[in-house]
């Protein structure tokens, strides 16, 4: 008998992923790593959507996921472009170095 995985576990996993992402975003300084952490958080949200959609039998949750993925893809395109051009001009720059607009 295949043990049915309760939706709760999915939610727990998603929470864990989100926590890792948020923690990484706050403690790491490498812009690329921070970027990956954001992706992690986005996908944690996706997992939540899908899990709850299955549990509630509602297709809307899965639809929302597609939107998130499109937004994430667009974000990657723009964000990576910016990061690459920054690192090309200032090799080894961390996120804390990019503080030209501070008050």
């Amino acid at each position: 008998m295949i043990a049915v995985i309760e939706p709760t576990w999915y939610l727990l996993l998603a929470a864990l992923l989100f926590g890792i992402g948020a923690f990484g975003l706050l403690v790491r300084r490498n812009p690329l790593i921070m970027f990956m952490c954001i992706e992690l958080m986005l996908n944690a949200a996706n997992l939540t959507f899908v899990a709850l959609a299955t549990q509630l039998g509602d297709i809307n949750g899965q639809t929302a996921v597609f939107f998130v993925m499109v937004v994430a893809a667009a974000e990657v395109v723009v964000g990576l472009g910016i990061i690459v051009s920054i690192l090309r001009r200032r090799p080894g720059a961390t996120a804390d170095d990019l503080a030209e607009l501070k008050g």
């Binding site: 948020a22 706050l26 403690v27 996120a95 607009l101 501070k102 008050g103």
Partner: protein, 657 residues
């Protein structure tokens, strides 16, 4: 023909534009002839408009010609419109005619001046403004002309602007006039607020039917009086006129005798229903300002030695008479005196110009004398002007001054006494001037230019030191200058027939012509004096007036020709009652401190509020922006905390979930 009334200002405007473009090419004297022709063309149009109106019924003698809508702003509708009615046409007739003669005179007077064509440019612009002033159908068009004549007077007084005193006099005239203009503008605002229109017909009708409250009417009248006092050189704003003698003499004749200074009297006559609808103290104020100015300026004229300064103060004094007439409800008398004064004062000024011209720009009467032998035509015409201004019957000044004094006596004996004393003084100082300039011994050979000459020991021949004036001989002016003098002399002698009373057997169908003509305009404001003691005893008044003239002239004769009485010319009078120096002192000391205090208030309180606000904003912003650290991870942390707090708020406080 009355529809062509717009041509009256159009001709001088065309002259102005033509000289503006071709002036330098036309040069001396063609530019002058062009300007003169334009002004006479205006006169011809005025005459034809006059005959057109004359041919109509009395209550139809009014034509409004609207050129275009000038200021269409909601309920403020102002047209550029001209009003041809008996008053404006009467003004146009004498303004354009006398201005034309003065233009003609100026061709001779300004001959050889480097800025000859520019002079006529300004003169034509001036005549344009003046005709605009008198023909305006509403207060704003009049104001346009009013400002125009103010600007032109500035340009013309300061015509020889390389001379410091001329430039200063121009500025003084302009600034003093601005003080009066302030009153005019406030009056316009008030009139628009109360009546909703600036047109004379609407304002006057509101006053006539009683739609204008007495308090509003009084305020408008007093503010217009402020304007009139500035333009017509009355106390306390007369100070610019004597200084304005710095301009070329034709300018003095045109602006400061015949036209511009009468603008204030004209304006008050135009709005006579408003004055009639005011409280009683308003006309009384006007009358007293006029009377006091007349007396005050006459005393100053007693002790002036500059040939033009005497005439300048005399002008102030004579306009005082007109104001006196306006204040006592004698609008016809005011206009009558304005016309005769324009003739004889233009004559006197031009005569003075001719003398100055003949004396090589000498203006000090102490260095003249016995000129009648050298300048017979100037002397003859000047004497006619003297008889007219002094009020010797049957010259024009006699009739108009008597009419003014008649209304003064009907109003108040005190005003009449002031008027009679002024008449004595007028006869006295004019006699003094005529004697000093044309009679007595010739002082120009002995005194000419002596302030520049070194000390000469007695008995020594002073010929060498006077080489500049050694062969100098006064000469009569050319025909182009004396022809206007002769015409004006005729006018000054005969202008009285415009409005002779029914005395001395003058038939009633030829008397009071001007009153008949102006009747529709001044009907509402004109005082009814029939039945007063003064009205019933005109012969006595005539006798008093003639006696006053005789006393003044005889005194002048005794003092200055027979030298039986020592001249009495106190420095108080010679210095104009120290009015100018009092103003200078006041403005220099307490005035300056006061204005400094205002400036300080502005710098500290007003500016302080503005800069204080800016400093407060800047400081706050400086503190707040420190929150923007520029660390992305800090922002992310703040956002995260914020999300948690929001969630907490939703869950715990709002109880969602």
């Amino acid at each position: 023909m009355a529809d062509l009334v717009w041509l009256i200002p159009a001709f001088p405007l065309a002259g102005f534009l033509l000289i503006l473009v071709f002036g330098r090419r036309l040069g001396d004297p063609k530019a002058g002839w062009l300007a003169t022709a334009m002004v006479f063309a205006s006169f011809v149009v005025s005459v034809s408009v006059y005959f057109d109106l004359l041919g109509r019924e009395e209550d139809e003698r009014e034509t409004v010609v609207t050129l275009f809508s000038w200021v269409p702003l909601g309920s403020l509708q102002v047209d550029l419109a001209f009003l041809a009615d008996p008053l404006s046409v009467a003004m146009c007739l004498f303004v354009t005619f006398i201005a034309g003669l003065i233009h003609m005179f100026a061709i001779g007077y300004m001959h050889g001046d480097a800025k000859f064509s520019k002079f006529f440019l300004y003169l034509n612009l001036f005549v344009f403004s003046m005709t605009l002033l008198v023909l305006g159908e509403n207060l704003l068009v009049t104001f346009l002309g009013w400002e125009g004549v103010g600007t032109c007077s500035y340009l013309l007084i300061a015509f020889w602007h390389t001379r410091e005193s001329a430039a200063t006099a121009g500025k003084k005239a302009f600034i003093t006039n601005r003080v009066g203009d302030w009153g005019f503008m406030l009056a316009m605002f008030l009139a628009f607020g109360a009546v909703g229109s600036l047109s004379y017909s609407a304002i006057n009708e509101a006053a006539e039917v009683g739609a204008l409250a007495a308090s509003t009417a009084s305020a408008i009248a007093i503010l217009l009086l402020v304007g009139a006092v500035g333009k017509s050189a009355q106390l306390p704003l007369y100070i610019w006129l004597p200084d304005a003698m710095e301009g070329p003499t034709p300018v003095s004749a045109l602006i400061h005798a015949a036209t511009m200074v009468t603008g204030g009297v004209f304006l008050l006559t135009r709005v006579n229903p408003i004055i009639a609808a005011s409280y009683d103290w308003v006309p009384t104020t006007i009358a007293w300002i006029g009377a006091i100015t007349a007396l005050f300026a006459a005393t100053i004229a007693l002790a002036q030695n500059d040939i033009k300064k005497v005439l300048a103060y005399s002008t102030v004094s004579q306009i005082g008479y007109m104001m006196l007439a306006v204040g006592t409800g004698g609008y016809v008398a005011a206009i009558f005196h304005m016309v005769t004064h324009a003739a004889f004062k233009a004559l006197l000024f031009l005569g003075a110009g001719s003398v100055i011209h003949g004396m090589n720009d000498e203006q000090d009467m102490r260095k003249m004398g016995a000129l009648r032998k050298f300048m017979p035509i100037t002397a003859g015409t000047f004497i006619v002007g003297w008889l007219a201004i002094a009020g010797v019957p049957p010259f024009s000044g006699f009739w108009s001054k008597d009419e003014v004094l008649l209304f003064a006596l009907a109003d108040s004996t005190l005003l009449y006494v002031v008027g009679i004393v002024t008449a004595v003084l007028t006869a006295f100082y004019m006699t003094r001037q005529v004697i000093m300039v044309f009679f007595g011994e010739a002082r120009w050979t002995s005194l000419a230019n002596d302030d520049e000459a070194p000390e000469v020991a007695e008995g020594e021949e002073p010929v060498e030191t006077h080489h500049a004036h050694g062969e100098f001989k006064p000469h009569e002016s050319p025909a182009i200058m004396w022809i206007p003098l002769v015409v004006l002399a005729g006018l000054a002698a005969l202008a009285g027939i415009l409005n002779v009373p029914e005395l001395f057997g003058i038939p009633s169908n030829s008397s009071y012509k001007l009153e008949e003509w102006l009747h529709p305009v001044i009907e509402f404001g004109e005082a009814d004096i029939s039945g007063t003691w003064a009205y019933d005893n005109k012969y006595i008044l005539v006798g008093i007036a003639v006696a006053a003239v005789a006393i003044g002239a005889a005194l002048g004769w005794l003092v200055y020709l027979r030298k039986q009485i020592k001249p009495w010319e106190p420095s108080l009078f010679a210095n104009g009652w120290y009015y100018d120096s009092a103003i200078s002192w006041f403005m220099g000391n307490p005035g300056r401190e006061g204005f400094q205090a205002v400036a300080d208030f502005d710098a500290t309180i007003v500016d302080g509020a503005v800069t204080g606000t800016a400093v407060a904003v800047k400081t706050t912003a400086g503190e707040v922006r420190k929150g923007q650290t520029g660390y992305v991870r800090q922002y992310a942390g703040v956002i995260g905390i914020g999300v948690v707090l929001l969630l907490g708020w939703f869950v715990v406080i709002r109880g969602i979930l």
